[in-house]
């Protein structure tokens, strides 16, 4: 097992290098002259030149890249121009909000999509199969930002079921003491059930919005791979041997059908992290996405680059986790390692 994890870690290194190089190139591709930008509009030519030397922008690109790497190694992502705060600190405080939302969205999607896919595959041509097909086609066509607004309109404005779609917690509550940064976990640690319910209510709409978008690929893959497995020889043998339906479906078929579904998770995470930004904007969610967007409006580039780098590294780590999970579910992968 350890060997497998180690091997995947080594395999992820080229990806991490690629991500760092691309983010560096994006930093240096700022529109116009970065030195003139940082020096401000009123700066004289000499002042611009001084800023250029101070920022190391007069050095060759390779040297600049070396400095960039050194800064990264020290966890220095630069300071935000508008707030003056270090970007890394801000990202660290806001990351739990984004992660909580993303993970809950994924959990919701998986809990609906996987059973739906299984049911559709076991009863081809039935109404549930048609429902699954409609859902998968409509689901990928949904602009996340639009679904979010629509859900807020229906469940907040018309029905009044959801709390006001702004932020992580209604202002009448004070956030739980910071332990993990996940309000759901922290409120449970404080044994404050009301706070837990309030955070969950606030999370509900944004998480469902995210989940609706990624449900489609998951359901589609579950259905297709279940259909494939159910028509294979070993299932026929199991049926002929008189095993119970439940045993065949969950003990034999589902475990094998799960592998392609886990593979799709990689793509699903790419969608999730991307649409996370949109959902955070719609629901004024104080995560790293809305941090980047606020900075973007103010032409403040360091936070945006820090955000892109964080997201990319997060994605690499998630893919690594998927690879390891794959090894846990399919023992054959471990044998190869």
């Amino acid at each position: 097992m350890l060997k497998l994890i180690l091997k995947r870690l080594v395999g992820a290194i080229p990806n991490i290098i690629g991500v760092v190089v691309v983010t560096f190139l994006l930093t240096r591709a700022l529109p116009g002259d970065p030195a003139a930008f940082f020096a401000g509009p009123a700066a004289t030519e000499q002042a611009v030149e001084e800023v250029r030397v101070a920022l190391g922008l007069d050095q060759p690109l390779v040297v600049q890249f070396w400095h960039y790497l050194k800064d990264l190694a020290h966890g220095n992502l630069g300071n935000s121009l508008s707030t003056g705060q270090p970007v890394l600190a801000e990202l660290v405080t806001r990351l739990p909000a984004s992660l909580e939302l993303t993970l809950l969205g994924l959990a919701f999607a998986a809990l609906v999509a996987v059973p739906l896919g299984i049911m559709a595959a076991t009863r081809p041509g039935s109404w549930i199969d048609h429902l699954c097909r409609i859902l998968t086609t409509v689901g990928v066509s949904l602009p996340t930002f639009f679904t979010g607004l629509l859900l807020a309109y229906i469940f907040y404005y018309l029905l009044g079921w959801a709390p006001s779609p702004i932020g992580r917690l209604d202002p009448v509550y004070s956030p739980p003491a910071h332990v993990t940064g996940f309000y759901l976990v922290d409120s449970l640690l404080e044994r404050d059930l009301e706070l837990f319910r309030a955070s969950l209510a606030q999370l509900g709409l944004p998480a469902i919005t995210l989940g609706l978008f990624v449900m489609a690929p998951l359901a589609r893959m579950t259905r297709a791979s279940m259909l494939g497995v159910l028509s294979s020889d070993f299932i026929r043998t199991a049926r002929a041997s008189g095993l119970s339906r439940g045993k065949i479906l969950y003990g034999y078929a589902f475990r094998n059908a799960l592998l392609p579904v886990i593979t799709t998770l990689g793509m699903v995470f790419s969608f999730l992290l991307g649409s996370n930004v949109l959902v955070e904007k719609v629901f004024a969610w104080p995560g790293i996405g809305s941090y980047a967007l606020e900075a973007l409006v103010a032409s403040d580039y360091a936070p945006v680059q820090g955000f892109v780098l964080t997201m990319a590294l997060l994605y690499v780590v998630l893919n690594l986790a998927i690879d390891v999970l794959y090894g846990v579910i399919d023992p054959r992968v471990q044998l190869e390692a």
Partner: protein, 281 residues
């Protein structure tokens, strides 16, 4: 030819939705071509006396916060949204086909470098990478096209590479080589036509996503700027009003955007069934 027609008829008969999607697609194309000519009002003319009016007989889709006719803005925006998606997909196709063909044909270092490029792009969450590109290169429509093209590139590279790779030592390629054709000619004349069917499927499956992506970037304030009518921006402008009950400002552009993406996805699925029945799920 006859067999293809029969297959098309079979697929359309099996799945009337494809036919419906094709009709819808034609309607959207007409809208994009004729847009400004058929819009009932000037999409930029504001009329503050009539701001935020619900749908009525004069303004079918209502008016926005500046009193502009929403229907006209939606119609005129079709050209811009489709234009961005089509140019982005065309760019991905051209560059992806060239790189993928070269990688599949030459193998070795070319293949490794191109493959690494595709992997690096895929190592990012794609929408986030597009955001980063537009933020770094500047807020213009051209950069939106470029960013959308870049994040779609790996899919085209992979399809083209795989299709060329399996054929590079095929009999007809060997024959062409023995008759004295240059590498370039073999790639362009003998191999390229073979990648077209799977690439076409990729294009139609990709179009919807490209539109969604461009609208998403505009929604967060990148790319197209107000007051230019664009579906993503219109939804963003309506977002402030939907919470206070003025639903029509965001609902109509959002619904049209959804319909356009839905139409492309249906069309892509149908086209895939016709061209490549094995990939049917």
């Amino acid at each position: 030819m006859e067999a293809t027609l029969r297959h098309v008829r079979y697929v359309v008969g099996e799945n009337p939705l494809t036919f419906f999607a094709f009709g819808l697609f034609t309607a959207f194309v007409l809208l994009a071509l004729l847009g400004p000519a058929i819009a009932p009002y000037d999409p930029l003319a504001s009329d503050t006396a009539n701001a935020l009016q619900p749908p009525s007989r004069e303004h079918w889709f209502g008016t926005d916060q500046l009193g502009r006719d929403i229907l006209s803005r939606i119609i005129v925006a079709a050209r811009l949204d489709f234009g961005i998606a089509v140019s982005a997909v065309a760019l991905s196709f051209a560059v992806g086909a060239a790189l993928g063909c070269a990688a599949g044909y030459y193998g070795g270092w070319t293949d490794r470098i191109v493959g690494r490029l595709a992997d690096t792009i895929m190592a990012f969450p794609l929408f986030v990478l597009a955001m980063g590109i537009v933020a770094a290169m500047g807020n213009t429509v051209f950069n939106i096209v470029l960013a959308t093209a870049i994040i779609n590139l790996p899919f085209y590279i992979r399809v083209a590479r795989a299709e060329v790779n399996v054929r590079r030592n095929a009999g007809f390629v060997e024959a062409a080589r023995l008759s004295g054709n240059s590498d370039w000619r073999i790639l362009g004349v003998h191999l390229f036509p073979n990648i077209l069917p799977p690439m076409t499927v990729q294009i139609s499956l990709n179009m919807g996503w490209a539109i969604l992506n461009a609208a998403g970037l505009s929604f967060i304030g990148l790319g197209v700027r107000p007051p230019t009518p664009e579906w993503g921006i219109m939804v963003a402008e309506g977002a402030t009003y939907i919470i206070s009950g003025e639903w029509w400002v965001a609902l109509f552009p959002g619904a049209i955007l959804m319909l356009a993406v839905f139409c492309f996805n249906l069309l892509g699925d149908g086209l895939r069934d016709i061209i490549d029945p094995r990939r049917r799920t």
